[in-house]
């Protein structure tokens, strides 16, 4: 089973990625999975309610993404993953033998991306599945 996996966090880049992914899955007849992935530093403790807040936030985002996909005529599946986003996307794609991963880019400069951590940047190197980067 193939399918298209899109990383979505509600940012402008992610909106663009979602639109492309919805469009592609319609045209290619592929199943669409929308993934919200996050991680929170365990350093510092006191994280239980923080994690709960992040889960709620992620679920809200996913619900919105699914509505948008539905409005465009695509029934998507959603996945909330508590992992670094690049890891979550590449692992899910490998496991489902997905056709491609779609992510948005914020147009970060390479050095800033290297220092601050950029999901598309990491994903391009990590993923065995083809990655489509859409500029927001």
């Amino acid at each position: 089973m193939a399918g298209i996996i899109v990383g979505y966090d509600g940012s402008d880049g992610a909106e663009a990625a979602l639109r492309s992914a919805v469009d592609l899955s319609k045209r290619l007849g592929e199943r669409l999975t929308v993934v919200f992935a996050f991680e929170a530093n365990p350093v510092g403790g006191e994280a239980l309610d923080y994690w709960a807040a992040l889960r709620e936030h992620g679920e809200g985002r996913l619900a919105k993404a699914l509505e948008e996909a539905k409005a465009a005529g695509v029934e998507a599946e959603r996945v909330l993953a508590e992992r670094p986003p690049a890891d979550a996307l590449s692992e899910l794609a490998r496991e489902r033998d997905a056709a491609m991963i779609v992510v948005g880019s914020r147009g970060e400069r390479p050095i800033a991306a290297a220092i601050l951590g950029s999901t598309p940047h990491r994903l391009l190197h990590l993923s065995e599945t083809p990655v489509l980067v859409v500029r927001g």
């Binding site: 510092g44 239980l48 807040a53 599946e77």
Partner: protein, 512 residues
């Protein structure tokens, strides 16, 4: 609609997809040691406390003994954290634990104590960071100017707050490397210093003696309590490493290897470095340079060039410590806001960076105000705020100890093991911290107890602690009528399932 949600907590899973790969990583053994030690920030802790502990009247040469004694109550409280964390997996919060176990007013007070304590440590962190930044470039005149240090300290807080707000995280590997450099440098410093003491006898050096490690040689309990109040600080944060869920074959077998290793590492470093620092030029030098002990020692011990390594170690340690101060504070206020015990705005999550942004920025802003106020008024107040924060640590750690025994009260007599680890140790920790708290409050009232002169005829550390307490009490009284639902909650007991034997290993990593 087909729907799947993969979540470690399992709160809102619609159809559980069996995929361990997408769950939050259980923390490995090495990472857990790193979290425990890095959160405690040994380099900064030593830089901030060595001189202040040596200066407590009556400690004499027994500073290493203080490091050992101060650890004991922390060990007891770590047991409390461990078991409370089992009841609320995934890094539960002190605020929610105490609210559930004792009641909402106590929980709110514990939350306030965490926030206030974290705010009170920020001036010291910023001050040390500012000082050592100038020391790194041998810029003595700036290091000695309170305005330059104030400016550098404010920049430090701004940068650290930005890092927490922006959600920048060092990779686990980078953290390990930084921590290794820190630990290695501290050990190198201690070993070289001790070798030189025995071979070339630097000015005022003293050879270590057994009595340095013997708490019974401290002249008065007054001095011991004063030392331990400061010593508790150096282990502050260690509990978060113990409490993080650890990947192990059998998580129910008590705190894992990582807790034991990080403990030995910390106590070892503290005792070794204290001994070496005191032996090299005698305690006088520590007392005379309370804000930058490693700067004058580094040159003599490691020589020009290598001494910078020591300063870098203190700076990386201070940056770790600043972050482990801002993160839990922001999370505590987020937790309180989500439980409707604080204005909801503090529970806000930044849509892009996913950090508790309002809580984080508020913490940074308040820290800058407190830091600037103390430095402008009298820079010695930074040390007195540091002494006062020891009271806050004793208060909320002590409360956590009692909360553990109260929460598990129906299970204490089920086995000798339960009785000892869930009952005796936490209560012992709570009582000893309570004793230190009460004794210190009495001692710190003396007009000459602070580095700064008396305020309102009382010791400056006492006045700082009292002001913090009064602000907290006023806010609590204002909150009670506003947050009726939270304050009408009843204390509960632990779910008996928590103490049942663990499920098979496959399910044990789910954390539920």
């Amino acid at each position: 609609m087909e729907s799947a949600s993969i979540a470690a907590g399992g709160g809102s899973v619609e159809s559980g997809v069996e995929d361990k790969g997408l769950k939050r990583n259980a923390i490995g053994y090495i990472s857990n040691v790193v979290i425990g030690v890095a959160s405690t920030a040994p380099g900064y802790s030593l830089a901030a406390t060595l001189g202040v502990i040596a200066a407590v009247g009556g400690i004499g040469l027994q500073a290493p003994a203080v490091m050992i004694v101060a650890f004991l109550p922390m060990l007891c409280i770590a047991a409390a954290y461990y078991y409370l964390n089992r009841a609320d997996p995934d890094c539960g919060t002190t605020f929610t634990w105490v609210s559930k176990a004792i009641g909402p007013k106590s929980g709110w007070t514990a939350g306030w104590a965490i926030i206030a304590t974290d705010v009170l440590v920020m001036p010291s962190l910023a001050f040390v960071a500012g000082q050592y930044t100038f020391q790194l470039f041998d810029w003595q005149s700036a290091a000695n100017s309170k305005w330059a240090v104030l400016a550098a300290g404010v920049i430090w807080i701004v940068v650290m707050t930005w890092i927490c707000w922006r959600g920048v995280e060092l990779s686990a590997r980078t953290q390990q490397i930084l921590l290794s450099i820190e630990v290695f440098t501290l050990c190198l410093f201690a070993v070289v210093a001790l070798i030189k003491v025995y071979t070339s006898a630097p000015a005022d050096s003293i050879k270590p003696a057994f009595s340095w490690f013997n708490p019974f040689d401290i002249s008065t309990t007054h001095a011991l309590v004063g030392g331990v109040l400061l010593g508790v600080f150096i282990y502050w944060g260690w509990d978060s490493g113990v409490a993080v869920n650890e990947e192990s074959e059998n998580p129910a077998e008590g705190p894992g290897k990582s807790a034991i290793v990080s403990t030995l590492l910390l106590v070892g470093i503290y005792v070794l470095v204290t001994t070496a620092a005191q032996a090299f030029h005698g305690p006088k030098l520590l007392i005379n340079n309370p804000d930058d002990v490693f700067a004058p020692l580094g040159k003599g011990v490691l020589g020009s060039g290598l001494d910078k390594l020591l300063i870098i170690a203190v700076l990386t340690s201070a940056s770790a410590s600043t972050q482990t101060t801002i993160l839990p504070t922001a999370r505590t206020s987020l937790s309180m806001a989500r439980n409707r015990a604080l204005p909801g705005i503090f529970g806000r999550i930044h849509p892009r960076y996913l950090s508790p942004d309002v809580s984080t920025l508020a913490m940074g802003a308040v820290s800058i105000l407190v830091f600037a106020f103390l430095v402008v008024k009298d820079q010695n107040l930074v040390f007195d705020a540091f002494t006062a924060l020891g009271l806050g640590i004793c208060f909320y750690y002590g409360l956590t100890g009692f909360a553990c025994a109260i929460y598990y009260r129906r299970h204490l007599f089920a086995s000798a093991r339960n009785f000892f680890f869930i009952g005796v140790l936490p209560i012992l920790g709570g009582m000893s911290l309570g004793y230190i708290f009460v004794r210190s409050v009495i001692d710190l009232r003396a007009p000459d107890s602070g580095a700064a002169g008396p305020l309102l005829g009382l010791g400056a550390p006492f006045v700082i602690a009292a002001i913090t307490f009064i602000i907290g009490a006023v806010l609590l009284l204002l909150s009670i009528p506003r947050y009726r639902e939270y304050f009408s909650r009843k204390a509960a007991v632990v779910d008996p399932k928590v103490l049942e034997p663990p499920p098979p290993p496959a399910a044990a990593t789910e954390g539920s």
